[in-house]
């Protein structure tokens, strides 16, 4: 079974802090993704990566950056957290032309 592990289930941070969300997959997948999920808006893609050290912007990249130094790990960084970044964050991975498998999500609150 594919295992996608996100480092925290719940996280509370303060406005202006730099926040790191970590995601690790154990299936040697090429593709990794970061989404945020908000009620009524579905899943919106923040960033994705097709390979190590490679990244592409999704639909809502503003205020976020990513890092992929190793194939199995994809990190999402909130450079200066703001209250409108309070959300559920979901990481996913997939092989080429394969369905995405999701982690359990991190519910992030910015106070």
């Amino acid at each position: 079974d594919v295992k996608v592990t996100q480092s925290s289930r719940y996280l509370v941070k303060r406005t202006g802090e730099k926040v790191f969300l970590e995601c690790v997959q154990d299936m040697d997948h090429e593709n990794m993704f970061w989404y945020r999920q908000d009620p009524g808006l579905g899943l919106r893609l923040i960033y994705f990566s097709y390979d190590v050290k490679m990244k592409e912007k999704g639909d809502i990249p503003e205020g976020y950056s990513v890092s992929r130094e190793k194939k199995e790990r994809f990190s999402l960084i909130l450079e200066s957290a703001s209250t409108n970044q309070t959300s559920m964050y979901l990481c996913a991975s997939s092989g080429l032309d394969q369905p995405q498998h999701f982690g359990d999500g991190t519910r992030l609150s910015i106070l």
């Binding site: 996608v4 593709n31 993704f33 989404y35 009524g40 808006l41 579905g42 899943l43 919106r44 893609l45 994705f48 097709y50 999704g58 979901l90 997939s94 080429l96 032309d97 394969q98 369905p99 995405q100 498998h101 999701f102 982690g103 359990d104 999500g105």
Partner: protein
């Protein structure tokens, strides 16, 4: 603009009913349509549809893709309370666009 639209947004049925969930898409770089079930945590994968007109089945769930009319349906027969969840569809190729989901509530 690429988009995926699901309908209805929410649905309440009773156990034993049959439901049909709809997903229409306009995605430039399209190869496959995915369906997921999301309960409290991560979306779990249900189906990946690539070919038009070929039904995929898993127990009481089935799904079909129409690439000419750009839509897919997910059918659930003899619904159970455990089917209560948000059902998500997504279209694309490696990068997928997700709909906002259909929230299904199955009452005893």
């Amino acid at each position: 603009e690429d988009k995926v639209v699901q309908s209805p947004l929410s649905l309440v049925v009773h156990e034993g009913d049959t439901v049909t969930l709809n997903c229409s898409y306009e995605v430039t770089n399209f190869r496959s349509l995915l369906w997921y079930k999301q309960e409290k945590k991560a979306p779990t994968f249900l189906f990946m549809l690539t070919s038009s007109g070929i039904e995929k089945k898993s127990g009481r769930l089935s799904s079909i893709l129409d690439k000419k009319e750009l839509f897919s349906i997910l059918n659930i027969t003899a619904t159970q309370t455990g089917d209560s969840a948000i059902y998500l569809c997504a279209g694309g190729f490696n990068k997928f666009y997700f709909g906002s989901g259909t929230k299904l509530n199955v009452k005893p």
